[in-house]
Amino acid sequence: MPTTMRINGKAFQSSSAPNARLLDVLRNECDLKGTKEGCGEGECGACAVLVNGKLVNSCLIPLGQMEQAEITTVEGLPEDSALARAFVQCGATQCGICTPGMMLAATALLAEHANPTLEEIRWGLSGNLCRCTGYGRIYAAIAQAAGGSADV
């Protein structure tokens, strides 16, 4: 039975097996290559997306559980936003592999805490690994996007 969901606001139907990973459906069927595969074990957050507003690792989600789900990938985030500008201004991206996951983790965090403390930012991003920037600039970007100080 095909699975029907909404991806970045558009209806989508997949006929992949119910135990197929949401990650593979997004990349291979929807051609949404912003969602990266890092570890494939739920440890790095490169494949993070929002499912019904919650941050999840798409490598761990079976398609069979996505019936009627609302999925947001990095392509579904606005092209120009305070968050995107802050990432650029703070130099919060380097090789770029972790950036989509970081942006989605930040989106989930800011939806819950409009003005997060550094501790809350660290907690919200703790499931996302970056091997280039060392996190400081990413935290600074999120603080700046929230309207706070960039000196994190």
């Binding site: 690792n57 989600i61 079976p62 703790s126």
Partner: protein, 288 residues
């Protein structure tokens, strides 16, 4: 292509399990199973039973003796639950150090227990609080103390056709204090080198009236420390000989060397943590 069944009610799921005992792979949050099924596709089960839609397995209810937690309740819901934070702070703490938020949004308490990893993050706390399990079957439910659940490496007491439906945790005794600590390489997303929870009850004269420990990553299964508990019972803190405690920790655990740690490190750290728990030098530490 494998078959995926997502029933809405518990009786329906139990009927399926009873009709084809041992055939279904039960899945909820999938944070362990999806890794396993991707890395070992030859072991792909043919029949999946998705219990994430069973309302009976969701949520927390306060009972007269404590709290009932539906087996498919996510760790995120548990760690934020006001009653859990107030009365079972060690459970809120262990849920918060299980992976990271994207894992906690999906992973369930029942799944953490049934996956039966020797390193299960929430196992020590459940052992220390004296949790018991509500196990459902088409023909009726049974109770099992959680300490009797793990029967060997990745082997549980669940029989064919059975489903873990809920975990019941009693209120801690009035004058008890808790201690929880997970030792890992980094704060988030680490698998424990050693973890421990303890619930220690003292009378007004400082005599230990009860001491329950739960540990993970120190044996083939999450385990209690029966000889340490026995040694402490009826003793005052000042009469406890650290060497005696260390010796008994050595009797109660059987750590191995693996990718995360060595036998000697685990034994030493386990002893230090047990002593720290007994002497109350710090409480419910979240992380290293």
């Amino acid at each position: 292509m494998s078959e995926w069944t997502r029933p809405r009610h518990l009786p329906e799921a139990l009927e399926l399990l009873a009709a084809a005992p041992g055939q279904y792979r039960v899945i909820s949050g999938g944070t362990d199973l999806m890794v396993e099924s991707h890395l070992a596709p030859e072991r792909h089960p043919e029949f999946w039973l998705d219990i994430s839609g069973l309302r009976e397995l969701q949520g927390l209810q306060i009972t007269e003796e404590g709290i009932r937690i539906g087996a498919a309740t996510s760790l995120e819901v548990i760690r934020r639950h006001a009653e859990v934070v107030t009365h079972w702070p060690m459970l809120a703490a262990s849920a918060a150090v299980t992976g990271a938020p994207p894992i906690q949004n999906r992973a369930t308490l029942g799944g953490n227990v049934c996956n039966a990893s020797p390193a299960a993050d929430n196992a020590p706390v459940l052992l220390a609080y004296g949790a018991r399990l509500e196990i459902a079957h088409h023909h009726g439910s049974r109770w099992l103390p959680y300490m009797d659940f793990h029967q060997g490496y990745r082997k549980t007491a669940l029989q064919a056709g059975e489903l873990l439906s809920a975990l019941w945790i009693p209120y801690p005794p009035k004058h008890s204090r808790g201690y929880f600590r997970k030792v890992g390489t980094r704060a988030a997303q680490a698998i424990a080198k050693v973890s421990i929870a303890a619930l220690i009850e003292e009378d007004s004269g400082g005599m230990i009236q009860g001491a329950r420990f739960g540990m993970a990553s120190v044996a083939a299964t999450p385990c209690t420390l029966p000889s340490v508990s026995q040694y402490l019972l009826g003793r005052a803190l000042r009469d406890i000989a650290d060497a005696q405690v260390r010796q008994r920790v050595g009797q109660d655990i059987a750590p191995i060397q693996d990718i995360r740690s060595t036998t000697a490190y685990r034994l030493e750290i386990a002893s230090r943590l047990v002593l720290e728990a007994i002497h109350g030098r710090s409480e419910s530490k979240k992380e290293d």
